[in-house]
Symmetry: C2
Subunit: 354 residues, 2 copies
DNA sequence: TTCCCCCTTGAAATCGTTTTTATCCGCCGC
DNA sequence: GCGGCGGATAAAAACGATTTCAAGGGGGAA
């Protein structure tokens, strides 16, 4: 732990320039009470000796931490299963959104929503960060409630269904599910399954809404029995697909929640000997652009999660600057990436053979 | 930004207990100069009012930040391709390894090795963290050199090939590549390809060593022309497989660097009409347990990356406590998960048809 | 010329800890 | 009985910044 040639402090700079530390501080913070000439001289000297304010000192005095905490959910460690979420990309986006500010990103791992609330409490009460970013928003989300009540700055990836005003970035899951379902209906499918995550998640409900609306638009009854709630794992996707394809009146279309469940669905259908692309179709959300390499390549709705992360970071910065959360809300429609697998290319099973 | 009912400071505790803040500090840090009785009283009161030392104050005084920085590599943002690395799991492991300590995890995103060095410098010179964790170690790694020279505590995931003593955790890639190659040789393959990442990476060289040794052990010539260096993307896996399978004397076995390249290889072979499992075999490192759902399921060497992360965190804690880095080194052999796809079940292509 | 005000800068307090140094007190030894 | 010693606690300085308030100086107005 070699103590590096102690880096310059404001006092060093004071000795070098001859100005008092008070003036230095004001000059560097661009206070209007300091002359332009003085500011220039001080900045020049600061650059010269490579002075950068110590976050520690600033932090103690101002009460700010210059840290942004991100609550990163990880699946419970029991028998790891891929969940298809590339959180690294989200973090990368957040970091990009924070760039240019003095804020750094502190990652807190949370294993479930309950732990999320506890961690949020710790962050707020322990002044561990100045702002919070998290995802996995539930329809009724205790973290959102708590943070709103506490008046703590935060931005979420996703919206809860409560009447609260807060900054958020979200994907239009209702629309995406609607579009995916409508596309399968147009392709001739009637028995379409919705492979959905934890039903407490707000976007799981959005997906059900969109799914339902697509059937209503087509004047068709909604196949309630084909809505499956689980998690984001490949294992669940496979199990669900197998269950659904084995029904007396099997599902032929699958609207998966993401690429890992879609991969599982494909594996399940393959095990049953179902030829995806001929007798069944799969559509998914696309976080990581792996679907192009599946067998068959999947039609997806691409989520630019790094961009979403960047928005999250940018919004939090603006929120920290005092901006009204009502102006910091954004809804993105994912782009359709049409590949194959979503249209019935040959006969539909219920049409019999010719 | 409601200023929460200002949380208790050491001064509060001093007023409550009647002891001076100096005594409080010593008592809570378990200094031997304080009586047991006093310590007990102070601890009791601290628990009572919910006092926890402010990291800000501690940090300013001690010069420590109580932060651990993790350098998280992300692929360059040009046309995102999945790289199959679930860094979230590594972070989760690191956080688990840090649990119980006052250290928190700060994540710095780096886009390439050069930026990694710059970021490491920033962290060290700006006192942004007390320790550093990073991966993607190159055979000649400037970050390792710099940090060793600076005497800054760090732990790496991977080893460089320089003669430096530092704490690290690594996977025995040499062994894994050897075992995978030997398995394919035993399965009848002779034209075995090594799909490898960036050749500057230390473990890329380890893999070449193991690959080479497997051929040497079998008394066979090493197919140098089948060693492909690229990145971890699915795209590269596909391109490489297509190139290799189109050779006049095509590759029939593929030792992939991870699951995303393996997925790409499968996609490429499928496009060429190669029946993997009959005329070709693929083996991969397995970070995320998705290979079980590929078509066909892949035999893999499973890397418990969360455990590796936990080790990283634990090692760094011990390093920060002053332990000798020479004692903080660990090499793990990944577990073989035998599925299919790695044995030639039917005829070998060069045997002609019967 | 004198007084006042404003503009610029400086001194000092403060944030919450740790650590060094000082003080107080009782007890032991001579 | 007195001096010194050591054990327990307290006082004060320090870490590096920001911020409040005071001070100094110059210029304009009377």
């Amino acid at each position: 732990m070699a103590d590096h040639p102690t880096r310059p402090t404001i006092k060093t700079l004071s000795e070098v320039t001859g100005f008092s530390i008070a003036t230095i501080s004001k000059a560097l913070n661009d206070s209007p009470v300091v002359t332009q000439a003085t500011k220039a001289a001080i900045r020049q000297a600061a650059g010269q000796i490579g002075y950068a304010a110590s976050l520690r000192g600033m932090s103690l005095r101002t009460g700010r931490t210059y840290q942004v905490a991100v609550l990163m959910p990880v699946a419970a460690p029991s028998g790891f299963e891929w969940d298809g979420v590339d959180y690294a990309q989200i973090l990368s986006g957040i970091a990009a959104g924070l760039e240019g500010s003095p804020y750094r990103m502190s990652v807190q791992v949370v294993r479930d929503a309950g732990e999320g609330l506890a961690t949020a409490r710790q962050v707020v009460e322990g002044h561990l960060a100045d702002g919070l970013i998290f995802s996995g928003i539930q329809a009724q989300d205790p973290r959102v409630e708590y943070l709103c009540a506490a008046g703590f700055p935060f931005v979420t990836l996703g919206r809860c269904r409560q009447d609260l005003t807060y900054a958020h970035v979200d994907v239009d899951s209702d629309w995406a599910a609607w579009a995916a379902t409508a596309r399968l209906i147009a392709g001739g499918h009637r028995r379409i399954a919705l492979i959905n995550p934890d039903p407490r998640l707000s976007y799981a409900l959005d997906r059900i809404d969109g799914f339902t609306r697509a059937f209503a638009d087509a004047g068709l009854p909604v196949p309630q029995d084909l809505i499956m709630a689980g998690d984001l794992s490949t294992r669940f996707g496979k199990q669900a697909a197998i269950t659904l394809a084995r029904l007396p009146d099997p599902a032929t279309g699958f609207v998966c929640v993401n690429e890992s469940t879609a991969l599982g669905a494909l594996a399940g259908l393959r095990d049953l000997g179902v030829d995806v692309g001929r007798t069944a179709s799969v559509i998914a959300y696309d976080d990581i652009n792996a679907s192009a390499y599946f067998a068959p390549p999947l039609t997806t709705f691409y989520l630019p999660i790094e961009d979403l992360g960047r928005q999250l970071g940018g919004f939090l910065l603006r929120r920290l600057a005092g901006e009204d959360p009502a102006t910091l809300q954004q809804l993105t429609r994912p782009d359709l990436v049409a590949r194959q697998s979503d249209r019935l290319e040959r006969v539909l099973p219920w049409e019999g053979n010719t």
